[in-house]
Symmetry: C2
Subunit: 406 residues, 2 copies
């Protein structure tokens, strides 16, 4: 079951990844990209409990291996360094050694243990990291103390930075949870299909943090799709440095659910920003399936709709071609009774209990011209539901991806 947001937290206006107490972030231009920022870091004043989830792609890039090893060492991190423009993926033993060196030099520069440093890369696959540029960048860590620079430095073909922070009172302490993300291409439901960093000043053990990360990721980053592709490099990483000195949080803590709710909101808003800023996208598409036998089934059907190239192009064309939605549901591979199906585009009901209504198409078009298009699907199979997000498929997606490296 999904939780309805009761908003027992406050959204902080124009807040960044460094909003929680004790975090600093920055970014610089290291020269991997022509002129845009391309190297960033996050630093916590004290070691933080940490957890991560990783791409399910068979080819996990070298930085993911190095980060996993760091987390296995102590479940603690104090810093994260990220470069864009080069994924350090499919780079063999040399790539692994480069990621290790990136971790070690950062640790030296910061005066902390290498096992407290996570590394992350995003960009082209199969090219060696330009280590001279990386080394030069590491030497300059601290030059920027603007978290917005970090948020810019992690982007690839993204058009906008993605960041958010909320405050939630736990045990009378003002706990902050913040997040920054990059997305754009290769965004697909089966986890870890983007880079996302979450920081919080809550005190929480690593095991509980890992559990919270799985739970919040499942209903946020695992619920978006841009193009059905799934990258070799993506992960969601969370650092909780405990600097608010709250009573340690865990799933049996009376305020755990409020904490998760606030975290869920952060992750979900980042996920929606990623979908909306999908390569070439002009619209966010939100698909809800309810009345399903299982939440997983509901999510699967919703993803089939939001992942259909024909639905995506129809929505780009602001064409109420509902037949494509039906067809995508039917092709989802998830069985359901078609006589119990209802469908609405925005407020306009098109199918009710399997019967096609004589709906008023201009009302659908009113929804389709919006920045966010809502599709509602209802079944008579059970009481589970899920919402997923995606974007339309446009000329610009083709343009961006036909010439990505050139």
């Amino acid at each position: 079951m999904e939780h309805t947001l009761s908003k027992s937290f406050n959204i902080l206006e124009n807040a960044h990844i460094d909003q929680p107490k004790g975090f600093i972030a920055g970014g610089i231009h290291a020269g991997l990209r022509k002129s845009k920022l391309d190297f960033g870091w996050i630093y916590s004043e004290v070691p933080a409990s940490a957890a991560a989830v990783y791409t399910q792609n068979t080819f996990q890039a070298a930085p993911l291996e190095v980060t996993q090893e760091a987390l296995k060492h102590s479940s603690q991190l104090q810093a994260v360094v990220v470069n864009s423009a080069n994924a350090n993926s499919y780079t063999g033993e040399q790539g692994y050694q480069d990621a290790i060196q990136m971790q070690q030099l950062t640790a030296e520069k910061m005066g902390i243990d290498p096992s407290l440093v996570a590394v992350s890369s995003t960009g082209v696959i199969g090219e060696m990291l330009p280590m001279d540029l990386i080394k030069g960048a590491i030497a300059r860590i601290g030059e920027s103390e603007a978290a917005a620079d970090f948020e810019h430095a992690i982007l690839t073909t993204d058009l906008k930075t993605k960041h958010i922070a909320v405050e939630v009172e736990i045990d009378g302490k003002p706990i902050t949870i913040a997040g920054a993300a990059k997305g754009s291409g290769m965004i697909h439901p089966n986890m870890a299909t983007m880079l996302s960093f979450i920081t919080t000043d809550a005190k929480i053990e690593a095991d509980s943090l890992q559990q919270g990360l799985r739970q919040t990721t499942d209903q946020s980053f695992n619920r978006i799709t841009v193009d059905g592709d799934c990258s070799t490099n993506d992960m969601v990483l969370v650092l909780a440095n405990g600097m608010q000195n709250n009573e340690t949080l865990h799933p049996q803590h009376p305020e755990w659910h409020r904490f998760i709710e606030a975290w869920q909101f952060v992750s979900r808003e980042l996920a929606k920003m990623i979908a909306k800023d999908g390569e070439g996208a002009t619209k966010l598409i939100e698909v809800t399936v309810e009345g399903a036998k299982s939440e997983q089934g509901a999510a699967g059907m919703a993803k089939a709709v939001v992942g259909s190239s024909l639905v995506k192009t129809a929505i780009y064309g602001e064409d109420a071609n509902w037949g494509r939605i039906i067809s995508a549901l039917g092709a989802s591979g998830i069985p359901f009774d078609k006589h119990g199906l209802s469908l609405a585009i925005g407020p306009e009901q098109i199918i009710q209990d399997g019967e096609l209504l004589s709906f008023y198409e201009p009302n659908c078009v009113k929804e389709l011209v919006k920045d966010t298009v809502h599709l509602f699907i209802s079944l008579k199979e059970g009481s589970e539901k899920a919402t997923v997000w995606g974007c339309d498929l446009t000329y610009d997606y083709v343009q961006i991806n036909a010439s990505y490296r050139t």
Copy 2:
């Protein structure tokens, strides 16, 4: 295992669906489309053994129900009528009655039993068949006796007609197998994702025909993908009228494999024509995976590559972005040892046994500028292999599908 074509058959130049003895086909403009042909028929002088495979979409359109009932009745057909522009899908009880009427009026016009008539529709989902136009068209059956008109009448956004015929000697008789198809959008692996009609003058029982259809379809129409969508209307239908009076064919017949080989060729060439004429496509992409544990696994991995939007756009851009191929393989969900992976774009080897080679990129580009682009993937898992076909993703795909109904 796939069979290597030893070509124990002859390809007949410029031959159509009416090439086998005793078949007539034609098509006219019934007024469902503005000016293009939109209504076609195939007629056999005598009742023919018949078999079909259908879309796996939950929402099977009305004409498929009616055709299935006809085949259940006697496993014989003598005629097929097809309209384009309207799919008669998601049209409820009225749509079913319309398909029945289309079948019955055709039978009356031809003077045969309604159970010998298959009906088929393709086009927009959710609009009622304009029965006045359909009735008018049925009254004009026989006006055209050009099989090329049939091949035009079944098209939607296809740019070219798709037809082929081969001759294979069985028991000293010159057996002909012919096929015509339409494809374009909504073409995806899980069968029956287009309309395809196969005719032959071989004598063969319906059970054996069904078995042959499954076998040939699995390695042809089930091996192509255009956009990952799977339609509500698609089927492959085969009619064998026995007019060559050969000894009845069946799987134990000594010449069965030669017959299947010729049929396989017809189906595979049609499938490739469909992939090549995918909406907006400029190139045919052929992906072979060998050294796999199972043929199904090999096909699954090859489909993951040819179905990846990022691979498709890179090939459109003639960009040797092999990292996207690797990423698609890794995201296929099919486990394999990455140290045994080899990859070539055309003749240029890029990865050998998991090691990235210092390949010469202009040699890749030489392959990428061709009309047909070959990707070869080799594993060290087993001895099974599969080849699949797809097409590139272009501006025109978006253009066609953003404005299909307008």
